[in-house]
Symmetry: C2
Subunit: 398 residues, 2 copies
């Protein structure tokens, strides 16, 4: 027994990949709170507070705002499977893996999908979406990825949301990699349905998918001709549990909700604007350091996510070997490239708790050490100087 | 901030409802282990060990045995949405809420469902299923609930599984409320697809759904004419993450997997047979106590679950008031009746860590106190004597 199934003893990683990010000790501690039943009045209090905190973080007044009981992709499926009926026309922006995932999910639900493709590493232009919408008779929704985790691109959404509404379509937004890192303005941008995750910008463990739906989107849900094809993700039933009726649907992941509650308290204590500034500053330092080292950023200039940077693997370095050495020699996790970027880029995340000066400094130093040992020119020492200069210019505020 | 969103401080409940059950301190501690990425080699080790432990607990050699990333109902939906294609004929035994849920889920997936109904509180008879199967041309599967959480009935499955196979159908079993409490013999009973949860017999927090599928079931999955309608629960993709390929599909709930690992270690340390005996003994004592108090058990005699007892509310007592007083005065959670049992029964769970002599004694004493104060005749003191006698006859082993 003991030899086959030893006590859990994971190493302490510095999590600088595409998520999960490092978890604050207060969130860890919250998970040790006593278990409650999913209908216990004390747990219902926690549920109400989580909804309120999520509204603050999503910047919305949407009544239907709560964490779905699955990871981020379950949030995607909840939104699409409740909003799409067979034969619906939908427009999806695709410039990376998570745009592709949207398409796959919508097609399984019987949607007629119009893809609007952009090259990996670039944004989807509003004019492209506008042109696609003009060709459709009655588009049900437009779906976009706010922060494309596979490319590091920061997709502007406000203009596209306006176009969607002009054509009578709902606007659906994936904020899995943006919530808690950069502004997500659900009401100001008029987003009708949005989902995220817990393990990136919010720095809780993975396991829940915060979702929010506008009154207009809920009207579509309530007027469906057919039942939602998913029992587990059926909003018509789930809103009776998360809403006033408190009807049992499924057993909510109690402990994960404790973790999310504490993580959201930390976000609100820091303040959203301060949190976004922290992400921006650390990214600026990371980017300065990487460029000083002679490395190139892959995402379109002007649309680079602070929380996730895609870096081209330089000549002379093997992508997987460098990642492996970062993990084994420095306990640093960074992400591999996906799809066309496989073997060609690293993805360095600075999300939530992981977005710290010490992590920027460490990953630059470790990269310089490893690349240098492989004979790649790194302009020795320049990266750390460049990063330090960014922090100094900001009065040491990191 | 602090006033609206105070520090989490849930009371310590004695969880004697239909789940969640109380969580062992070692499981709590496991959740504080450092976060790992979902592709970290150290996490992959944990995944492999969880699969091995689940095979022990499910008593199976099934290769495809892992925890799905959702609660028990997500396990149901994973199994059905991967095995059912539109128009498939399925037979479902219905004698409670969870049989009804099976029907609803299968119908949403486009199955032609033959319901085999039994009255609430009774088992579904093999002859009923046999008769239903005979009327179908090519039944795809038979689905049964092993432990019907809404009635406390223990459904025999072996003979029905044999009937299913004689008609070329797969046998699907819901063990949400049985795994870890009573024997679940996947291979010996020839179950083709089975799912459970983490928060009942296994006493981890809710959030994962252990599933296991036979080679025959996976053959059906691989030969589908259409894609699984659910992206999130698509076994063809998920087996590439939980299997050797380690392809990213979604971010596994890392911390919940830590909790499940530790909970499974505790199950295996105790030993399955010893665990089943513990559940049986504590149920025997509870039942003796309840009957000595003059209360009546609702489930069909000979088919009563040890881990979940349905008790008729006696004349003179108000169902909700008693439950409320148990919670507020004694910190004990018991379950309400559902559907036709609403207002008429209590559901007392003794699952996993909650199945202990001290909890049996406490709930009997608390019930006697509350019912007595309402003027209900409880044969004062007899319940505790009857329970104690059961433990004594068993040499004090609880």
């Amino acid at each position: 027994m003991t030899s086959d199934f030893p006590e859990l003893n994971p190493p302490q990683r510095v999590l600088l990949g595409p998520g999960p990010s490092n978890v604050h000790p207060r969130v860890m501690r919250a998970m040790a709170a006593p278990m409650l039943g999913h209908l216990d009045p004390e747990f219902i209090l926690v549920m109400e507070r989580i909804k309120e905190l999520l509204r603050i973080v999503f910047r919305t007044k949407n009544e239907i705002t709560f964490p779905a009981s699955g990871t981020g992709s379950a949030g995607m499926e909840m939104v699409l499977s409740n909003l799409i009926e067979e034969g619906d026309e939908v427009v999806i922006g695709v410039a990376g893996i998570f745009g592709e995932r949207f398409v796959d999910c919508a097609q399984r639900l019987g949607a007629r999908v119009t893809r609007v493709d952009s090259p990996w590493g670039r944004i989807v232009e509003p004019a492209q979406i506008g042109a696609a919408l003009k060709k459709l008779r009655r588009p049900a929704l437009v779906a976009l990825v706010h922060a494309e985790t596979s490319t590091g691109v920061y997709q502007p959404v406000e203009e596209i949301a306006q176009l969607a509404h002009e054509h009578g379509a709902l606007m659906v937004l994936d904020t899995v990699t943006s919530l808690g890192c950069v502004a997500v303005d659900i009401d100001a941008w008029q987003i009708d349905a949005c989902y995220s995750c817990t393990q990136k910008g919010l720095s809780a463990p993975p396991g829940l998918a915060p979702v929010t739906l506008s009154a207009r989107a809920m009207e579509v849900v309530r007027q469906r001709r057919t039942k939602c094809p998913s029992w587990y993700l059926d909003l018509a039933m789930i809103e009776q549990y998360w809403g006033g009726a408190r009807l049992y649907h499924h057993t909510a992941p109690i402990t994960m909700n404790y973790a999310l509650y504490e993580a959201l308290r930390l976000v609100v204590e820091e303040g959203l604007e301060a949190r976004f500034r922290r992400h921006a500053l650390n990214a600026q330092a990371l980017h300065a350091g990487l460029e000083a080292m002679g490395l190139q950023l892959v995402a379109q200039e002007g649309y680079r996510l602070p929380q996730l940077s895609t870096v081209a693997v330089p000549a002379g370095a093997d992508e997987a070997t460098v990642r492996d050495r970062l993990l084994r020699e420095f306990n640093i996790e960074v992400g591999a490239g996906l799809g066309p970027f496989k073997g060609r880029v690293w993805r360095i995340g600075l999300m939530g708790e992981s977005a710290r000066r010490e992590n920027v400094t460490l990953v630059l130093a470790a990269l310089e050490t490893i690349l240098g040992s492989m004979g790649v020119e790194t302009a020795r020492g320049r990266a750390l100087e460049a990063a330090a200069a960014v922090y100094s210019a900001n009065h040491g505020d990191s």
